[in-house]
Assembly symmetry: C2
Homo-oligomer: 310 residues x 2
């Protein structure tokens, strides 16, 4: 198995499990991915699933600790960890790991989620993204605004190595819902992505004039434009996608200010699409290095001391 | 069958057909309702469905004209009528009826839809509501802002007997989608309506401070509040309903100004709920008389001259 394993890192989400075998330097020695998301594991048999998936790694390193983050730490997961209130330092995250033992004797630790409150006192939460952010901070990323696009996009403000606060946007999930289940989806036809329709959608989503309506009204415009033939049916999905992205950018600008150039974190394909879309409407973003989940897991393990005392 | 029938009015929508037997005075002599919405009628057999449902009315009045409005005039309906661009007078709507003949020899006419454009040039459309509005204008309703709440709420500005412009909000459909299909619905539990949670939702939806986020962010708050136990699970559906209603009221205020007391049109149960909710947050509305669809159908028929020349 080559170089000695110092840590097994687990990025364990709703639909998939990503595992990293990490060296004492933090380097990724080996990686695996499986459709072992927490919603697909019956009866809470997480330890059995893990033993089957990584049995060889565990046998080869009887004293190697494991560190897990993501939805595996939620109420529907293996061990429910608390939400640490922002602002939070990486040290505080590392100090709050929740420890269990596997039947094999291995130590397994779980990362906490984060919570914050908006200016109006309403809470927001994350689970899993905090580990990627810890990875970015460990990489010395200078961006003070990070974006993790996706089903529930996270916009995260950082300063001096701390996670200051954040806001979640339901962009991705709303797109899927509206395309699959709403009256808007009925007019849509499969087709190539339509760049022009996408750009028109983004422009309308970003438009600040409240006299032209908010999101509840603008969404219905997808139907009107389709019915009147002003956006062709194969372009309607692109238009809707653009409208939601534009709305996200506008909301984020009002939440966090417009001057920052955000750093993008996520799957390379997704963040590149997101970057290109934002660049196309004059909102530059910077794509951060991949594998920040592995980097964050290592950093939290290192700071917690579990790498020193097996 | 009693008093002579002057007109058979049809309010024929996606999920139901409402029929009115109307006297020469416009009074409703008889009414019927059936689950004969256009989406439930296979193969476009609209005339067969109508003959089966109203055969006795048709036989008793071989010279009585029929007038239909609603989704029956859409591409998925019986006869697709055009959209008349706003501003539109009731006279113009009456002059634009589209005529066909039934196999029985009866004249049947179809009302046109309406279209408008926002300040940003994006179109909006309605079908069916224009008839209710024509009914309201015929009743001499003085409200200059009318609201037809529902799956796709319509906010309509009127002046001097004309329909000036309007805006559709996807409020009702978004509520159903999010409750049934989204991650927000997963935390919800059936329960009594929770008035306090509803009011909190309305307040957040109406809040103007953009630094507390827009709708994409506020929607995710339904999940955060549930996860942290700050809104109990049986109250989450009420909170979401309130959040969307509050957002609709805020968007409408920015679109149409806040000074108007809107007139509410729709099913008595629905408009009463809507009125009470708006009153609870200091936005008084006035409930308009019921049966405005029948009133509008009669008014359009009268002005078109079809009542005089069978």
């Amino acid at each position: 198995m080559g170089e000695t394993t110092a840590l097994i890192g687990l990025d364990w989400g709703t639909s998939s499990l990503r595992a990293y075998r990490l060296a004492a330097t933090g380097g990724v020695l080996e990686r695996r991915r499986a459709d072992l998301g927490i919603l697909g594991i019956a009866g809470g048999a997480f330890e059995d699933a893990l033993s089957a998936f990584l049995g060889d790694w565990l046998r080869a390193g009887p004293a190697v600790p494991l560190l897990a983050s993501g939805m595996i730490t939620s109420r529907q997961g293996w061990v429910e960890t608390p939400y640490l209130p922002c602002p939070v330092t990486v040290e505080a995250l590392a100090a709050a790991l929740v420890e269990r033992r596997l039947r094999s004797g291995h130590r397994i630790l779980f990362v906490c989620g984060l919570s914050t409150r908006g200016t109006d006192g309403v809470p927001d939460v994350m689970r899993g993204e905090e580990t990627q952010i810890a990875g970015a901070l460990a990489e010395g990323v200078s961006a003070r605004l990070l974006v993790l696009p996706g089903t529930h996009s996270k916009w995260v403000r950082c300063a001096e190595g701390r996670i200051v606060d954040f806001a979640t946007m339901m962009t991705g999930e709303l797109y899927e819902l509206l395309r699959r289940h709403s009256i808007l989806g009925r007019l849509m036809r499969e087709g190539e992505e339509d760049g022009e329709a996408f750009a028109r959608g983004v422009a309308r989503g970003m438009a600040d004039d409240p006299a032209s309506g908010g999101l509840l009204h603008r969404l219905f415009g997808v139907r009107s434009l389709g019915l009147l033939g002003e956006v062709p049916p194969p372009g309607l999905a692109s238009y809707l996608s653009g409208l939601l992205l534009g709305s996200e950018l506008r909301e984020a600008a009002l939440l966090f200010g417009t001057r920052e150039v955000p750093g993008l974190i996520g799957e390379p394909g997704l963040v590149e699409r997101y970057r290109a879309a934002c660049a196309g409407v004059g909102r530059p973003c910077r794509v951060l290095p991949p594998d920040l989940a592995a980097r964050g897991l290592f950093e939290l393990a290192r700071r917690s001391g579990i790498l020193d005392s097996p």
